[in-house]
């Protein structure tokens, strides 16, 4: 038998549940972008990601232009300069990888792509605005063929073996899976 204590608590449950329902159904003045002072978090994240992408595009635009016009040495110099201002920024590693690739320097190109992908996985995403899926796939396919052949000729060359490891790393990342 429920006594007075139980009844009070059951009434309390009803009252609080009713209050909750009322609260949820009342339109919130602060709804939309703001929730109690902080921006809606999903939107906030999107903003940050977008600002970051725009910033990278703006900041590294000179490098991309120099690369496009074939001025590789100047592009690498500009990258080095930007690297001092934004140390460890993976976008720099990816762009360096592309320049080295254009110069047919397989081993350093691979290493540079690996640094970039480790820093930001979006580069191996097919869908991301930063995606380099295509060019990294090409690096892996070509690299495994070329470097693989070289490794067979020089099985003791540790720098070639390291490049193979790098290529397997990129292959693994391209293959997907839970990170």
């Amino acid at each position: 038998m429920p006594d007075r204590f139980d009844m009070l608590h059951l009434v309390g449950l009803l009252v609080v549940a009713g209050g909750l329902l009322l609260l949820v159904l009342t339109p919130q003045p602060e709804a939309g972008a703001m929730h109690g002072g902080r921006l809606d978090r999903a939107m906030e994240k999107q903003m940050l990601a977008r600002a970051r992408t725009d910033f990278l595009k703006q900041t590294y635009a000179p490098v991309v232009d120099l690369t496009a016009s074939g001025e590789y040495a100047a592009a690498l110099l500009k990258l080095k300069e930007l690297g001092r201002e934004y140390p460890g920024e993976p976008h720099g590693d990816i762009l360096r990888g592309e320049i080295l690739l254009a110069q047919q320097a397989w081993q350093p190109a691979t290493a540079s792509f690996v640094r970039g992908v480790k820093g930001n996985g979006d580069y191996v995403d097919a869908k991301s605005p930063l995606s380099r899926y295509e060019s990294i796939s090409r690096v892996v396919d070509e690299g495994l063929r070329q470097v693989g052949a070289q490794v067979k000729q020089h099985p003791d060359n540790s720098s070639l073996q390291e490049t193979m490891r790098d290529l397997y790393y990129l292959q693994s990342r391209l293959a997907g899976g839970c990170e």
Binding site: D6, L13, G19, L20, E30, G36, R41
Partner: protein, 353 residues
Amino acid sequence: MPTLDRHFWLVIVASLALGIAGVGLAVAGNPENSGICISCFLENSAGALGLHDNARMQYLRPEIIGFVLGAVLSAGLFREFNSRGGSAPLVRLLAGIFLMIGCGVFIGCPIKLFLRLTAGDLTSLAGLAGLVAGVWIGLRGLAAGIHFGRAEKQRGSGWWIPCLGVALLLFYLFRPGFLLFSTSGSAAQHAPMLLSLGAGLLLGMLAQRSRFCITGSIRDSFLMRGRTPLLWGLLVFVVVAVGFNLFSGQFRLGMYGQPGAHLQHFWSFAGMALVGWLSVLIGGCPFRQLIKAGEGDADAGLVVIGMVIGGGLVQAWGLTATAAGVPFYGKVATLVGFLFLLTNSLLWRDRTS
């Protein structure tokens, strides 16, 4: 008057130290009115551990580590360490989460409530009323037979919170790369390292010896009128804090423009009522839970872990109030907390007696 025995004087000394440290650590660099605040500190620490990403609330507060390890030291020295556990563990963990929600909605734990009050912040009066009301309801529940079951001696349970305390101390000293430390916001405000850690250790030891507890003081005042030493301790704490705040120029009487406060008095009341009610049912305010966890009480340890998770969630989900008021989901979470309490009151009531 209570009997003026050794325990009485221990309580007075602990309260004195807490009052001095509570204001003094804010003077020395902690955020305003937050020389000691278990909920703020746990939110900061959860952020430092990566459990939320509010970049203004990430700092591994050494005071927290000091409280736990001070209690371990003191309990070890005076042979009061007692490894035990098993009393409604999952419920206690969830209670820890809801404690942080109640504190977040009010902005501050019961200790900070008194620090805000003694700095002249009149908005904290609504919280005080809520805390007293919550303790009163909780007491009625206990009297009606709510009991979470007896804890058992468990040799292997009580050591793990002390171990976690040591691990966090190592983290604090060696700062592995994954720890996050805010460079702006209230978490960037902190007293000097060794002062914070030393004050934490000292207070932890004193609190372990004296059983200092904010909600316990209020509870005992209901039960024993003026005869409990804890009530006198609370008074000493208030007097010392008011004096120190006046002396250091931090006292500013008023309702508006107070640091870390808002004007939604109903929710201040509700948040602290949730905390008071929960605290009575689980046997101690957030501060006391840290101390009990250091004494080998694994159930209090689960409350502590719940509070750390809660510290992450209230920030990650934006449940905490700001000067702008209580956010929508903070209100929802508070009401869910009352549903949790009411349901548990019905589920855990011993109807045999």
